[in-house]
Amino acid sequence: MSFSLLANSIASGLLMGANYALFAVGLSLVFGVLKIINLAHGELLLAGAYVGYFAIRGMGVPLPLALLFSGLSVGIVGYLYYFVVRRIRDDELNTLILTYGVGVILTNLFLLLFTADERIINIPWLTEGVWLGPVQVNRGNLVSGLVSLLIIGGLTFFLARTETGKMIRASSMDREAAALVGVDVERIDRFAFVLGCALAGFAGPLFGIVSHINPVGGEAVTINAFILTVLAGLGSIPGLLLAGIILGLGEAIIVVFASTMFQGIFALALFVAVLFLRPEGIFGRRE
């Protein structure tokens, strides 16, 4: 095995890490604010991927527009979804089960509408390799990695600096205290939920560029998103980026030395290790 092969995998692992963080950010936001694990997160992301796929392949829509379009349409779905979730959100177990059921419905809708075929969004200029100094990466990976960084950065800024962002943070840390200073916490819940879904939708087409769109692949996306959320610590967006990089890099390096089986085992091992060592996450704090 050559040095350059390893260097290339490290580079693409880093880029994939940024992608992973973006694929997880919607779930993390919803979990942070509403304390709901949206088990349909992965399916919502796939819905965005399908929207992107048909927009780009079928209608020739340029990528940036397709991203916005996917985000918007899944955001609208999220808005309807929120009103279903709100009915029973006081019951934690039932809410968890409900979100799983919504995921099942979406998966089977995909199967019914789009068949079991795997698809990939392949835009010719994105499939070429580009040289970054000594390493070569796929341009699709580069573009989606950079877009992910941009969105994560934008979201971090939004949460840190804007009034709505601060209300979201306050509400996720202590809901009652937020209500006491006049924050309409139910509005914040709705906003965060819809934003979380829209972010999943937005990430969808990028997922379709770096990975296969498989109608039953939503669960795997949700699992990874949850692992990263736990690894990062509740509501920490920078932590999410670091966690994504740990996963992306780990997987990329493992694939060089071992089979894809160990790639799957790596995520699980990471999950178990976090549960044992630092359930409050890298950036979380022990209370």
Binding site: M173, V181, D184, V185
Partner: protein, 238 residues
């Protein structure tokens, strides 16, 4: 007779099936310090949370400036000009002191700008000025309590509710907290103070209520409270 700005009549409230307040009637006069005494578990915190709409009352009526606040959401009640300094302070630990204070400014209804409000609060708590950039969870208990009170004052409320603000603080800090409460009255604010530190609370109060087991057991001006056998024994340790 002066107006009661806040009044409760026959309020029953609790958690699920557990009834904590069993028909509480109580009022607070505008511009005065009203104190509610009660031992641990008597329902003081529940009372505060019910007034703020965190817990919906099962029965009874709560009015603020003559208007019913029953059924309103917490943020709507807060926006009427009532701020609660909750038990245990409940700052946002990952936010800076400045951010915590700025969040309190969300309650502003008109008038002062953020900087003006911040200046006024920092003038009350000069100690906080050099802590503004610190993360709230790194502060000492006393400092956190000042931020919590400061946050409530940022919105320039007409009425401030304080839930055991002296709990767990060093005597010097307790003295400062009580001074600040008296300053609130001087500034024309109405104060409803819940305390276990009965001696100090009675000293600065204009009217005293005693809550036991979710029911009002005594009410009267502070002189009467100091004379009352039960209050003396239970709260003043005499």
């Amino acid at each position: 007779m002066p107006e009661a700005i806040l009044s409760l009549s026959g309020v029953v409230a609790g958690y699920g099936e557990v009834v904590v307040l069993r028909g509480v009637s109580l009022s607070a006069e505008e511009g005065k310090i009203t104190v509610v005494l009660g031992s641990n578990g008597s329902g003081k915190t529940t009372l505060m949370r019910t007034v703020m709409g965190v817990l919906p009352p099962i029965e009874g009526e709560i009015t603020f400036r003559g208007e019913s606040v029953r059924g309103l959401k917490t943020h709507q009640i807060a926006r009427k000009g009532i701020a609660l300094v909750p038990e245990g302070r409940r700052l946002w630990g990952d936010m800076t002191v400045r951010e915590n204070l700025e969040m309190g400014y969300l309650l502003r209804r008109e008038g002062d700008s953020l900087e003006e409000r911040l200046e006024e609060v920092l003038e009350i708590f000069p100690h906080l000025r050099r802590l503004l950039r610190k993360t709230a969870r790194t502060l000492s208990g006393g400092e956190q309590q000042m931020v919590a009170i400061g946050r409530a004052l940022m919105g320039d409320p007409d009425m401030v509710l304080l839930d055991e603000p002296s709990l767990g603080l060093a005597p010097m800090v307790v003295a400062e907290v009580f001074r600040v409460i008296e300053r609130m009255r001087e500034a024309g604010k109405t104060v409803l103070l819940v305390e276990q530190n009965a001696k100090k609370a009675i000293e600065i109060s204009d009217y005293v209520w005693v809550l036991e087991n979710g029911e009002i057991r005594f009410s009267g001006p502070p002189e009467e409270a100091e004379e009352n056998e039960k209050v003396r024994r239970a709260y003043l340790g005499l």
